[in-house]
Assembly symmetry: C2
Homo-oligomer: 370 residues x 2
């Protein structure tokens, strides 16, 4: 078989993308194998440290699987937050093409455009399952891909934490007035909503939360949920653990690929990224679901005060969120376009999930089996 | 490169499995490519008809992805229920090696051993997310693999329906006594539990449910949920739609591979099956989550009577389920072994899911956003 017909049969053509280390094409056996699976070495910047092992672990799962599916020819090396790119500049690095991939939470770029939040979580929005359904089987992925194209990014699902906790509070929140003047380490959309209620959002990095809470420089801080929060020890200095984190009912993580490199990939490598990202996505939620219950039990045994936000507090927050959405739509056509689709999907979910899923959950979670 | 060293380098050995259409191995380029990706043509028997397009669609998603990840060399052709294997004999066909793969619900084989139910759903058991977490990040997959090994099967996650509905009832169930003498089309574990409460489980195939409900030959029938049930038209002949299906809070589907063929697969093809099955798994839940809400709204507009089972009915069913588990453990060591792990995982989940997830769901599903 001639080289030309072999390449044709293999479904390959001249546009093999960036081939790093591939030998020149000849008719010999080993080099045709190299042509079939070009050797690529990419880098992925994560927004997360290795201490967030459930989230960072998803990047490792992804990279290992892509390597395996390409017989070791396509390697993507993950780097923890700040190793090669500051944790909150992963978008910029992928956009500029400095690195080929990122693993991040899109709402970190809320300051550039609140529309990014639809790729992670929006207050009083979707649960983990609903977010995945909107992305994969609603219009979510289509709409977000359009949005990300302006940033030279092709986005993929990259995990979900499930509903996060409301955070650690030095004093219990008993009524809406307790939110006034509260110095609360919380960012993005939640911060914007809570500002309407008099809260003073604080933006400090994770390492500084503990001392700030201990000294009372801040009154409260939210991080993720029991498994991650336990490791940072917040329960030692702020005993009230409020739930839920109504601003992230199912916080999705995302993989970013710089569009120029994506377009050059052989279809087989694109397929490997598609399927490996979804595996990492599903595995992350499973890890949190397996770990959070045990961590919460340990925290409770350490004497924390586990408390829901009172209903009247939830109500004023819901109202403030609605006002924020209305304002943002009025001034941001991109936000409005996606919100319109998203809110319809969200509202449609309520009746169904209130029926079978919720009643089963109440019945099942309410009683222990022997 | 000699044939021997090439094969060694490729991680292949003499046991290439069933190679259909592969040319004989020589040192020429095209044939070495064939050795790297042997041509395999497998068949997959589904337990589901094409009318259950969400479930059957997962088999198609899986087969398409495996083909793509192997550059078209590993094809698996799905067959709908009863095309090549009776819908409830998929296990037997894979066990005997008549076919290489199946896509089924393991609780169809409850009659052989109730232990199969842990691979699908157990009454008052796990939700969809919890089932996935137990399988992937608890001991579920490990324990089920041990169990399936006795049937020459290697099992993989193959989708989840989410919480199913309790079914269609000609008369509303208002109290436990209404379960006595009820001719209810329901199978497996639920049938066994309900027998304790005087219900008479009926086993009839899907095509016969509608006429039986219409004539009153049976009093009630459960199928799946709004999206699938709507297509069969049960709402026209039995107006009460009860929830939840407490016997399947998150019914998992499974892919089966006959062990002998699995062991012969090149590692790359095993990886393709692992990752494509998980993609199909996640996509199925997303499809149901996107479709069920709209179907439920249509059913309601058709005048159905959507009703939860009363709490006292749920309570007696829970008690009857507990008795059934206790009895089964006493006589079935395999059941007992897995139940012991499973029930610990299940009970641990309750506190966490009752906190953040459930309170978020109540807050979010309770109110529409504009």
């Amino acid at each position: 078989m001639s080289r030309r017909s072999f390449l044709k049969k293999s479904g390959l053509n001249a546009g093999l993308g960036v081939i790093v280390g591939a030998q020149s094409l000849t008719a010999s056996a080993s080099n045709n194998a190299a042509a079939k699976l070009p050797t690529l070495a990419w880098r992925m910047a994560s927004s997360f440290g290795k201490n967030l092992d459930t989230i960072y672990g998803a990047a490792e799962t992804f990279c290992n699987r892509v390597k395996e599916l390409t017989d070791g020819n396509f390697t993507i090396r993950p780097f923890a937050a700040n190793e090669i790119v500051p944790f909150n500049q992963v978008l910029d690095a992928v956009q500029s093409g400095t690195i080929e991939m990122g693993h991040t939470a899109s709402y970190y770029y809320f300051g550039k455009d609140p529309t990014f939040a639809f790729d992670t979580a929006v207050p009083f929005g979707l649960t983990s399952r609903q977010q995945t359904a909107w992305m994969l089987q609603g219009n979510g992925m289509k709409l977000m891909r359009e949005f990300f194209a302006e940033y030279n990014v092709v986005n993929f699902l990259g995990g979900n934490t499930g509903t996060q906790m409301g955070g650690w509070f030095r004093k219990e929140i008993k009524e809406p007035d307790d939110l006034k003047g509260l110095k609360f380490r919380v960012g993005g959309f939640a911060g914007k909503v809570l500002t309407k209620l008099g809260t003073v959002p604080q933006q400090i990095v994770s390492a500084d939360i503990y001392p700030a809470l201990e000294k009372g420089t801040i009154d409260a801080a939210e991080w993720v949920g029991p498994y991650d929060d336990e490791k940072l020890g917040f329960y030692k200095v702020a005993k009230v653990y409020h739930y839920p984190g109504w601003w992230e009912g199912g916080a999705q993580l995302s993989f970013y690929v710089t569009k120029k490199e994506w377009d050059k990939l052989p279809r087989l490598y694109q397929a490997a990224i598609e399927v490996a990202s979804l595996e990492a996505h599903t595995e992350m939620q499973a890890r949190y679901d397996a770990r959070n219950p045990l961590a919460l039990a340990r925290l409770i045994s350490n004497g924390i005060n586990l408390k829901p936000f009172p209903q009247k507090v939830m109500d004023v927050c819901f109202q403030a969120a609605q006002e924020t959405f209305t304002e943002e739509q009025a001034k941001n056509p991109k936000f409005k376009k996606i919100y319109t689709d998203w809110v319809t999907f969200r509202n449609n979910q309520a009746q169904w999930f209130n029926a079978a899923e919720q009643s089963f959950a109440r019945a099942s979670f309410g009683k222990a089996l022997k």
